[in-house]
């Protein structure tokens, strides 16, 4: 009897298990079916988690930008030409015209929009939509992250003036339905690139007047190659070819499924079992194995960005009782910081820690930024003939660098010849945001400094706290990184002006405000600027202002090199490596490309079945 009962119970259990499984199992074929039902080609990709916004004006993320370049058509766009090079070509504009200089130095561009452009709901795209979109994106009301992208346009300063200016607006207007006229405060070399930037994409006033327009496929109206047909929040965004797009015939991929996940391990699992064809992140500790196992599918692409360590300029690093004060003390600190930059083996960092094909850096403006003649900006940085940048980061130079550093430190600290250790260096605390990768680099820096007797403790903070601490200058030395928004070195340089919100080093703030040790002489370039022993505001701020007003490209780049020279002379920036963009792309996909800003393009992709 008991045996019989046990059997019944066991059966009941088995049944209940099956019943539970039944709740979720049958839905699986339905999902597969949905994909099959869509006619034509489809690609599944994973870039990041749920985008904060898909409003082109508000977006400031790379994953958001990737979706936006598929959804919208701005005046210009990035394209891969026949030789494989990336170029900026006209998109909504018939051509990317040259500007006409006005008497007051401003420059006016007049664009003609292509004929037959429609919004995804069938209405015509007009020049007024562009003008409206730009005014909106630059407005104080919207306070968009990338609102400053419009600072080159005449009128921007009025919009953001502290005292409200009557009728302040960007100098952009729709002359008629197909003619857009915009006036820049002065010529900028990267203007066409800005036109291809998502912040410059058009939106329609009646659409965006609904504040939540960009969160629901039903209200999402765009003018690009794709439209959003499904948005399962935190899970999946489905883009489908927009039949109203003017170049719809050229679009090869019919459907893009953008899965939303920020878990690198999860992405990798889905890539490995073939569900996703592109993943934009991989777990750092898997990189070495993946390079080996997927030599053709593991891709390391360039990305314009620098990973660096920044010092708080106001942090006292001189030994107690050094007797140095004011300008002398600051010069000594700069020399010491620069010497410490020589201690680190950047090749070890990129090969053994970061492992993503990063490039050892010896200057701040990242690899990928080009001079007017097309050569790399970082290769012409610094004054040395023998190496690129401000110090030699080749493996051979390691011993020399170390010896140089020791020589400098000997001037200021007690040195024990027997042990090779310095004493009297104040204890440092290295601040970084919680992440295994940053921690590993921090530990390496710590050990390198310990090798000469300098104690550096590690402190990690959660991301938002970290940003706050670093911005307020409540640190001695910190991890930092910067990615370019457009291909012009100025976006690495104007962040260090006194008033900049990204001036983490605290240049020109606190005690550093009155430190007058910087010199600037621009008379050879035809400017009436010659400052000897000036403050940061007298020199660097003036230099950046000069660059922004400079219309001669050759001179402008020379000025930018000088700005970087001045910046690097402080020793407050210790570049470690130039970023790369690592992703995995299934080898069945062809026609894919990505741009230097990390945007990925799927519209011309085809997949081998």
């Amino acid at each position: 009897m008991k045996k019989y009962l046990a059997l019944v119970l066991a059966l009941a259990m088995a049944f209940s298990l099956a019943a539970c499984g039944g709740n979720s199992a049958p839905t699986a074929p339905a999902a597969t079916q949905a994909v099959e039902e869509a006619t034509g080609s489809s690609i599944a990709v994973c870039l990041a988690s749920e985008p904060d916004t898909l409003d082109p004006a508000l977006n400031s993320a790379v994953d958001g930008a990737t979706m936006l370049v598929h959804l919208f058509s701005g005046l210009a766009k990035w394209e891969q030409n026949e030789s494989g090079a990336l170029v900026i070509v006209p998109d909504a504009a018939e051509e990317l015209v040259e500007g006409v200089e006005n008497e007051d130095g401003t420059v006016t561009y007049t664009y003609t929009l292509r004929e037959g452009m429609k919004w995804s709901d069938g209405k015509d795209v007009t020049a007024a939509d562009f003008a409206y979109a730009w005014q909106r994106a630059a407005s104080v009301d919207l306070a968009a992250d990338y609102g400053y992208m419009f600072e080159v346009i005449d009128g921007y300063d009025d919009v953001w003036a502290e005292e409200p200016v009557e009728g302040a607006a960007l100098n952009v207007k729709a002359v008629d339905d197909r003619t857009l006229e915009v006036t820049l405060a002065n010529a900028v070399s990267y203007w066409n690139e800005l036109l291809a930037f998502p912040t410059y994409f058009p939106v329609r006033e009646d659409v965006v007047s609904n504040e939540s327009w960009a969160t629901d496929p039903k209200t999402y109206v765009c003018n690009g190659a794709y439209t959003i047909t499904g948005w399962d929040h935190n899970s999946l965004i489905t883009l489908e070819k927009n039949p109203n797009y003017v170049d719809a015939d050229e679009i090869l991929m019919d459907q893009i499924q953008v899965y939303l996940s920020d878990d690198a391990n999860n992405m990798l699992t889905n890539f490995k079992n073939g569900e996703w064809q592109l993943i934009d992140d991989v777990p750092t500790n898997e990189i070495a194995a993946l390079k080996e196992a997927y030599p053709d599918e593991f891709v390391v692409a360039g990305q314009i960005g620098t990973y660096y360590v920044c010092w708080n300029v106001n942090e006292e690093i001189l030994p107690a009782g050094s007797g140095l004060e004011g300008a002398e003390a600051e010069n000594a600190r700069a020399e010491i910081r620069n010497a410490i930059s020589l201690l680190f083996d950047r090749n070890y960092i990129v090969e053994d820690i970061a492992q993503g094909g990063q490039v050892p850096a010896s200057s701040f403006v990242a690899m990928g930024m080009t001079n007017p003649d097309g050569s790399q900006f970082y290769k012409t940085a610094g004054s040395s003939e023998e190496f690129d940048g401000y110090y030699n980061v080749s493996p051979d130079a390691l011993e020399d660098n170390f010896a140089q550093c020791v020589e400098v430190l000997k001037k200021y600290y007690d040195y024990d010849e027997a042990t090779g250790m310095f004493s009297g260096f104040p204890t440092l605390t290295y601040l970084y945001n919680t992440s295994e990768g940053h921690k590993a680099i921090g530990e390496y820096l710590q050990s390198a400094l310990a090798g000469v007797g300098i104690t550096m403790n590690l402190e990690n903070q959660e991301w938002a706290t970290f940003l706050n601490t670093r911005k307020n200058g409540d640190y001695s030395i910190a991890r930092n990184g910067w990615l370019a928004d457009y291909n012009d070195p100025i976006c690495f340089l104007d962040m260090w002006t006194t008033a900049s919100g990204n001036n983490d080093v605290q240049f020109g703030k606190g005690a550093h405000k009155d430190v007058a040790v910087y010199s600037l002489d621009l008379t050879d370039l035809g400017y009436d600027v010659a400052v000897e022993n000036g403050t940061w505001a007298d020199t660097y701020d003036v230099l950046i202002k000069t660059i922004k007003g400079c219309t001669d490209n050759e001179v402008r780049y020379e000025l930018m090199h000088r700005a970087e020279d001045l910046l690097m002379s402080t020793g407050c920036i210790c570049p470690l490596y130039f970023y790369t963009d690592i992703y995995m792309l299934d080898d069945s996909v062809s026609g894919f490309f990505s741009n230097p800003l990390g945007y990925k393009y799927f519209m011309y992709c085809t997949t081998a079945a």
Binding site: K2, L5, A6, L9, A10, M13, S16, L17, C20, G21, N23, S24, A25, T27, A28, A30, A31, E50, D52, T53, D55, S60, V140, D141, A143, A144, D145, W160, E162, S212, W213, A214, T215, D232, H233, N234, S235, L236, Y259, L260, D262, D263, N266, T269, N270, N273, E275, W463, A464, T465, F466, L467, N468, T469, G481, W482, L483, S500, G501, N502
Partner: protein, 309 residues
């Protein structure tokens, strides 16, 4: 329900409201005391832009004023406000989205745990010290002692990578199978053990012996008397189990990238998305308080011998 029970229920409801209010208040002030803000990013926005956003969302007002405004909006209009990070979306919509997935996950996991745990526990009790009992006990001990992030990772490696029969990503329906199992194993094992010991206890009671002596059939004894009475502790476990599943889902949703409320909660804190932090906290707190309340009331209804005071 007599008046004493009613009084008890009312008292408990009142207490539940006070609990939720305390949670709201503490969370509100602690959240604002944490450094960093919702409009902070790697690339800083200008001070003017920051001020404009703060004014737009009322963050420029004194904290105490913000607190009372928030309370008023919640109580009078059930308005959780807009998300500061996902601009254009309302907190209530984001929570509703996440809740759909999380509730599915939680309810299925809870049913699975009960439907498997009770029979297994009963089998183990009836087969006490036999092989099947020992096997069940060893397995359940393992499940009870293994944290969900280890169990989740193991299942992921085995079923999603080695065998590749189930997706690793929780955003598709098939992808929910692994997170559900991960979430269900601990409470299932717990219920098995609970049922087993309580059944053994009941089986030793006088009234079971009496029933046997009177010649009542084995099936009737087990289903009619033993199992029914041994389920009382299991019912009381439902409250804590739900709390476990809710908090457990914070981890499990992260591992399997399930777009549920647990993940929304974690990311809202990282983002300093104040209205979102408040919204998710309130929903989770209400859920746990209500479930505990229900299980206490249920307890009383099932076993009239229990004294409520």
């Amino acid at each position: 329900m007599n008046s004493r029970t009613l009084k008890y229920v009312l008292k408990r409801i009142l207490l539940a409201i006070v609990t939720v209010w305390v949670v709201i208040t503490v969370t509100f002030f602690v959240m604002h005391a944490v450094p960093g803000g919702p409009f902070m990013g790697e690339k800083a926005i200008s001070a003017a832009a920051q001020a404009s956003l703060e004014a737009k969302y009322g963050l420029d007002k004194p904290l105490i004023e913000q607190y009372f405004t928030y309370l008023k909006d919640i109580v009078t209009r059930f308005d959780f406000g807009p998300s500061l990070k996902q601009r254009g979306r309302m907190v209530i919509d984001i929570i509703a989205d996440g809740m759909k997935t999380s509730a599915k996950l939680g309810v299925i996991a809870a049913c699975l745990a009960a439907l498997c745990g009770i029979p297994l526990g009963a089998v183990a009790a009836l087969r006490r010290n036999k092989l099947i009992d020992k096997v069940i006990m060893v397995i359940t001990t393992a499940f009870v002692s293994m944290p969900s992030f280890i169990m989740g990772s193991l299942l992921l490696v085995f079923f999603a990578i080695r065998l590749a029969v189930l997706p690793a990503n929780g955003s598709t329906p098939a992808g929910l199978v692994l997170p559900i199992i991960t979430l269900a194993l601990y409470p299932m094992a717990y219920i098995t053990r609970l049922t087993r010991s309580s059944m053994l206890d009941v089986l030793g009671q006088d009234y079971i012996r009496t029933a046997k002596a009177k010649g009542v059939s084995g099936v009737k004894i087990i289903f009619g008397h033993a199992l029914k009475n041994s389920l009382i502790p299991v019912i009381t476990y439902f409250g804590p189990m739900l709390a476990y599943i809710v908090t457990g889902s914070l981890v499990v949703e992260q591992i399997f990238a399930v777009p549920g409320i647990g993940r929304a909660f974690v990311s809202s804190i990282t983002n300093r998305d104040y209205p979102m932090v408040m919204g998710t906290t309130i929903v989770l707190a209400v859920l746990i308080v209500v479930m505990n309340l229900l299980s206490d009331i249920l307890y009383k209804l099932v076993d009239p011998r229990i004294n409520l005071d």
